[in-house]
Symmetry: C2
Subunit: 219 residues, 2 copies
């Protein structure tokens, strides 16, 4: 939304977490749309609501004419976005391998083992896939010179992994020149550059999906 | 596809796993579509390929006119399908909490803890959500009297969870009458009934996502 200049209000930040929980509770009792979990987006004029990150960005792409202008390419972009979602879910599982409801310290031993497999096997496997996808067009973006929801998600993924696994990322980044070039190109999109310099950009922290724990990224 | 009478060939079964691996390798080196992982579907006439379960069923729905006939409702169905995907990923994490590349026995202690949280917290949370969604229309399906990809996926989810967690499912099923009614209704769809009675229906086993290990579902 920042890249496309779509205005929005972040209700979780503006109104607080309790208001968000109340809103979800109210929606789950209505006879209409209900999200399973945040994030979800509600269109101001229509009241239409939608959840699931890959679904939200796909819907926004459609609604605001941000697609590649080619049905097959747009479908390929959705597929890549779903694969990004899978990798993000694995990032979360690394620090919470046993259960999302337990503290990190209560599953730290398992997390250390999960992190090793994630660093050694999963990062290269996912990155190989994204690097290949970025090679189909001439770049810097997956669909060529026009950015899409996949590129902005790849940017966030790279940024998050640099925060969570700085040692591992420093070791592998040179193997993925297209991915890094894509990430750099996203950071210079006018709306994204403004967003990154604003207080709307929340710093990565240990309450989010991308968390830095030294034990999970040894030097 | 079985419910809708769409003919297909299961290439992984017909041609074997090696042929599948070769096909994926070839696709990853082409300048077109490439799946990150199975399953993926290739349309015979067009050669168009698509991966990611939620994406495949959404595309099939569109392509074969199987939607609810209402844009908002179809979007709601996709959202539910993505939430089913999330639950299925958690089912896999229960028996492989540390890494997909390690044997179950090498992560059994972690799996036992993960299974407890999944049985006690995650099954009710997801099922509550599906039960609520099934209450919006009069049933037996999410969109009313017409089945959708969400209903067939809920059927498979219930069947898989009954296989993997028979004790837990026996204890909770009566709390979710709409979910069980939906699952029963799917099993009587003509194409599904024929499929279930055929050798195309592969029995659940310990190589799949839904696995039964007694330690993960104590009596």
């Amino acid at each position: 939304m920042e890249a496309a200049g779509i205005t929005y209000r972040d209700r979780a930040r503006d109104d607080g977490v309790e208001a968000l929980v109340d809103d979800m509770e109210r929606r789950s009792k209505s006879d209409e749309f209900a999200p399973y979990a945040p994030p979800y987006l509600v269109e101001r004029e229509s009241g239409f609501g939608i959840a699931q990150v890959a679904h939200i960005v796909t819907w926004l792409t459609d609604r605001h004419g941000l697609g590649a202008g080619d049905g097959s390419k747009d479908l390929h972009l959705i597929q890549l976005q779903l694969t990004i979602s899978d990798m993000v879910a694995e990032v979360h599982n690394v620090h919470h391998p046993i259960a999302g409801g337990l503290y990190f310290d209560d599953q730290k031993d398992a997390a250390i083992r999960a992190a090793e497999a994630f660093r050694e096997e999963r990062i290269p496997k996912f990155f190989d896939h994204f690097e290949t996808a970025l090679g189909i067009c001439d770049g810097p973006f997956v669909a060529g010179t026009k950015w899409s929801h996949v590129d902005t998600s790849l940017f966030q993924l790279v940024a998050g992994l640099r925060y969570a696994f700085p040692n591992r990322m420093a070791a592998v980044e040179s193997d993925y020149p297209r991915l890094i070039a894509c990430s750099n190109a996203v950071s210079t999109i006018e709306g994204i550059a403004a967003y990154l310099a604003s207080d709307r950009r929340i710093a990565f922290n240990e309450d989010g999906i991308f968390r830095h724990y030294e034990d999970l990224d040894p030097a």
